[in-house]
Amino acid sequence: MVETIGIWIAAILTLGIFSFLYKDNPFYKFCESLFVGVSAGYWFATTFWQVMMPKLVDNLAAGRWIYIIGGIFGILMLLRLFPKIGWISRWSLALVVGTTAGLYFTRYLVSNGMVQTENTIMPIFVTGNLPQTIGNLVIVVGTFCGLVYFFFSKEHKGTFGGFAKVGIWFIMVSFGASFGYTVMSRMSLLLGRLDYLFGTWLGLIK
């Protein structure tokens, strides 16, 4: 019984969101507002039980008082809700920004810069495997030319301009692949919902 009611509610909400396709309407707005509220509530409860309790409360209860600093910074963050003293929240924000900036500085350079370059340089010729050999060559040429396209200190003219032109072709092929994959993604999500409506709700699909 409870399960059936649940399925009906879920199905009606699904239709509510789908109604946006016809027109923006109050039913859609209702579903959307409900989602905003429910997801915020979900985050709030989850953060309480799985972060605040083990990381702050339990530590303090065990007498590790140093974690009170985290609590203080956290409370300062909440002061943003009060415009007059909201500026104090920047202290906590600074901690967040500093942590990510400090980590990003080295890590992105290594993983997305150095390691990528390292693996673009490779023994190109693979004896007996023509597609692989051509492919390797394509990776070297494509990465080089693509990077030339994003080089802003020189006008795209002559040979250099030619490289940039080839570069943009490779970037376009990447975008094409992304495009195809994105379509695939969106369609999968739609199939999931339709399967719910026709299968789980109406029981038409076995």
Binding site: V2, G6, A10, T14, I17, F18, L34, G37, V38, A40, G41, Y42, W43, F44, A45, W49, V51, M52, K55, G70, G74, L78, R80, L81, W91, S92, A94, L95, V96, G98, T99, T100, A101, G102, F105, T106, L109, S111, G113, Q116, P131, G135, N136, V138, V140, G142, T143, G146, Y149, F170, M172, V173, F175, G176, A177, F179, M184, R186, L189, R193
Partner: protein, 215 residues
């Protein structure tokens, strides 16, 4: 105070994390662990801040009777429903069989999943009405997109099964994905990485102050 303290905190924390990457010796690693633990707690409060802010905005919307004010009640209702049930269920609130789990299944899941699925419809209509081979670049993009779309599903196999093994749509798609696609993607990746490196550096040196100033 308003400006200097945040900039100092950013610099101290950030540079410690850079130093510890190269010098793993104590005490730097202890500092890193401590800063990261603080980060978690502050980040949790930041999520709460987002939630509370949402409540505040909707309370204002309701109080001042702004456009769509009745929906503010729905937001509040949804929020407190999940929070109260979540607290009531206690630490095992995510276990199958709890009320929280049930509400997740009948509210959060369908709403969230459907939100994203409506984009399928817009992709369809845009592919009919907007995606044009208007120039050489767009043409290359669309051709690559169609090859990938057909090559990635079983349909492509049947479409090209008359071709010799290794030259079918699936194989071509694999080749496109593994080589030209990877090359283009990598060029973008390296470019963005350098952008991130430089903006991180600006933040740490206090040159980028958008977060630390103004409101």
């Amino acid at each position: 105070m308003r400006r200097e303290v945040p900039l100092a905190i950013t610099a101290i924390v950030g540079f410690t994390l850079i130093v510890v990457y190269f010098i793993p010796h104590p005490p730097f690693n202890h500092f890193r662990n401590f800063f990261e633990d603080l980060f978690f707690i502050v980040a949790a409060f930041a999520i709460w801040l987002g939630c509370l802010n949402l409540l505040k905005v909707n309370a204002d919307r309701f109080y001042f009777k702004r456009k769509g004010w009745p929906f503010a009640i729905v937001v509040w209702f949804g929020f407190f429903l999940m929070v109260i049930v979540g607290f009531w269920d206690g630490r095992g609130f995510m276990n199958p069989g709890t009320t929280f789990y049930y509400l997740y299944d009948i509210l959060y899941y369908p709403l969230n999943a459907t939100m994203f699925s409506i984009l399928a419809f817009f992709v369809a209509s845009a592919s009919y009405r907007a995606f044009r081979a208007r120039n050489k670049e767009a043409t290359m993009l669309l051709v690559a997109a169609m090859v990938v779309m057909l090559g990635r599903v079983p349909f492509g196999y049947y479409l090209s099964s008359w071709l010799p093994e290794g030259w079918r749509l699936g194989n071509i798609t694999d080749w496109v994905m593994d080589f030209p696609q990877t090359a283009g993607q990598r060029a973008i990746m390296i470019g963005i990485a350098l952008g991130i490196v430089s903006s991180s550096l600006r933040v740490l040196l206090g040159l980028e102050r958008t977060f630390a100033s103004g409101e």
